[in-house]
Symmetry: C2
Subunit: 344 residues, 2 copies
DNA sequence: TCCGCCATTTGGAACGATCCAAAAAGGGTG
DNA sequence: CACCCTTTTTGGATCGTTCCAAATGGCGGA
């Protein structure tokens, strides 16, 4: 166990060529003679040589990894996203450095600092809620290609800079859901869940408000209800919807977790979601299709988003000087039973 | 953009000390005088120095990363597992190299080879279905600490060696579920889903069979039904349960995905799961709590398992010569409505 | 004043690869 | 056989850090 690692020098000694020649063979250069190549390759196999990419990267001043830092890995949306990122990076010969922040900006700073020490070629960051753009800039510096996914950190200082940005079309998505409910005759529609200081929540609220106004319905501030973006907290706050008569007859929810929580809460109050009250979500997590009732929601194909993010960061690594790109990806409204409730 | 990276030498030049001294300060050695330390630290901040761990690792012949290779990141069970692993590794100052294999042994070989080139301190592997122990040994070599999670690769050659192993108590878990159904009066109980060549499936089947036999019920080979471990395939194969009269009245499912698919299929045949037919799952994925009806299943707390795996691999990195450990973690039966159906 | 001792500081060789310019080995030609 | 040209091969410096043995400086005591 645990003998020394086999190096280029060992191979060179073993087959009587120089380190330089062995290195050429390793990299598949056409220079070495066929005979030489064969001998070297035999020796590589014989000794069980494993390439040391770290050493090579050091000399070549490049990097073969990309960091992926996400706010919440246990959320299936981000897990799928991560899978997509890893797919594409792997295919391009990069390895993924994974870091989870658990929605804590402090922890995010630490994780990012640690990533930086590993010298990634670029970084894909889905910021923790409450991230500060200035703090991020401090750890990440000005040199590294960065793609911000899904939400914008507070303090726009960063946005004046060269970071790419990729997010869902939250505004249009929420608008679609709202119009869908309006089309079913609803007029008293709440926006339920999420934290108003998260950029994605603000955008969704905006899409909701605009859709209402476009239909000539006045948005009711009391019906914009904040919750943590989890099933549990959503279920707990359902009371806020029914404080005052007349109560809403439908709700656009911040995301699927919140919508599922809301439906649970409704059932507990004796209301049948989808018949007595219409609900929509956002994300189309796998559960949405099998909940009771199945949840109308907005699909964004997180795995494809992951691939997209990876492709973009790779492109940016190749050409660091291009202007930053802001990508807003469309979302699809998936209509299921949870929004069937109709107002005559 | 993209100026040269700041190095130790730059700092040394900038504050008039030698590289060696700056390095001592960086590593918090007590040797440098307080005054010196202060000056160096000021210069570090001034130039925005970022430590290059790769270079340090090269010199020190050690590694600060651990590879995590999983068969299916988009499965919430493994996503949680990964989050747990990353938690613990991060806290210990290691970075996680993530790799997904999508259940393909060929891809797994490639991913592992790539990981090896990045010289991880150890590797946590949840093998793809159909992995071959010999192949694994070939890429991983004999030097690297390895923890195999969740299932055993075929060909036991590897097991004679020094790899750690951590898995759920599949046998006991399936036994618990089976006994639970027996206690509700069921006698015609199927084992539904999974591939018989996966070790976890074999173990669960064994627990099921033993529980039946302990209750004096003869297991019926036709009632062990194979499916891919997905909702979709499970739903598609439901017919196999009802080929012959009398049909089973309950099923122990390979995992939650399969159980959810089965319930879907039952509903489609006009049977109400939980009332006309009892179902249990395995894993306790989040959906299990909110499905219709909520699913009786076995919980294994994947995040805690992730932490456990990480701790074990770190321990093994510290002391490579200890004997391999086989850890079997207990699972808890979570009783919900899907298994309420009773036989008088 | 000189010496020895302690606390600091330092030059230069590693680590395992790549790069570059230059050397060595073949192979025709005249 | 000397010459030139092409094909192969190679030594040594380099990437950014750490390690080590040895150098430096200051200070108290003889």
């Amino acid at each position: 166990m645990s003998a020394r690692r086999v190096t280029l020098t060992d191979i060179a000694r073993g087959c009587g060529f120089s380190r330089a020649t062995v290195s050429l063979v390793l990299r598949g250069s056409p220079l070495p003679a066929a005979k030489t190549r064969a001998k070297v390759e035999a020796e590589l196999k014989r000794q069980g040589y494993v390439y040391n990419r770290a050493a090579a990267n050091l000399r070549q001043r490049r990097s073969s990894s990309v960091a992926l830092v996400v706010n919440d890995l246990s959320n299936p949306f981000f897990a799928e996203f991560a899978a997509g990122v890893d797919d594409t990076l792997g295919a391009a010969g990069y390895v993924t450095l994974l870091g989870g922040t658990g929605e804590s900006p402090e922890r995010q700073q630490r994780v990012l600092a640690s990533m930086m020490e590993h010298d990634p070629a670029g970084i894909i960051l889905s910021p923790a809620e409450g991230s500060d753009g200035g703090d991020l800039r401090d750890v990440l510096g000005h040199r590294l290609p960065v793609l911000v996914f899904n939400r914008e950190p507070a303090h726009a200082r960063w946005s004046a800079s060269h970071w790419d940005y990729l997010a869902l079309d939250n505004r249009r998505g929420a608008g679609l859901a709202t119009r869908h409910l309006l089309d079913h005759g609803h007029r008293r529609i709440a926006f339920f869940g999420g934290h108003a200081d998260s950029s994605s929540c603000r955008e969704r609220r905006r899409g909701y408000t605009e859709a209402l106004e476009a239909a000539g319905v006045r948005p009711e501030p009391e019906w914009m209800i904040e919750t943590a973006p989890t099933r549990l907290d959503a279920a707990a706050r359902i009371g806020a919807l029914f404080m005052r008569e007349p109560a809403p007859t439908a709700a656009v929810c911040y995301n699927d977790a919140v919508a599922l929580g809301l439906m649970l809460g409704l059932a507990a109050r004796g209301l049948k979601p989808g018949r007595d009250f219409a609900v929509t979500g956002f994300d189309d997590i796998p559960e949405a299709a099998v909940s009771t009732p199945p949840l109308t929601t907005l699909a964004a194909d997180p795995r494809a988003r992951g691939r997209q993010a990876a492709e973009r960061i790779l492109e940016r690594v190749r050409r660091p000087d291009l202007d930053a790109v802001r990508g807003i990806v469309p979302v699809r409204l998936i209509i299921r039973a949870s929004s069937e409730a109709t107002i005559a």
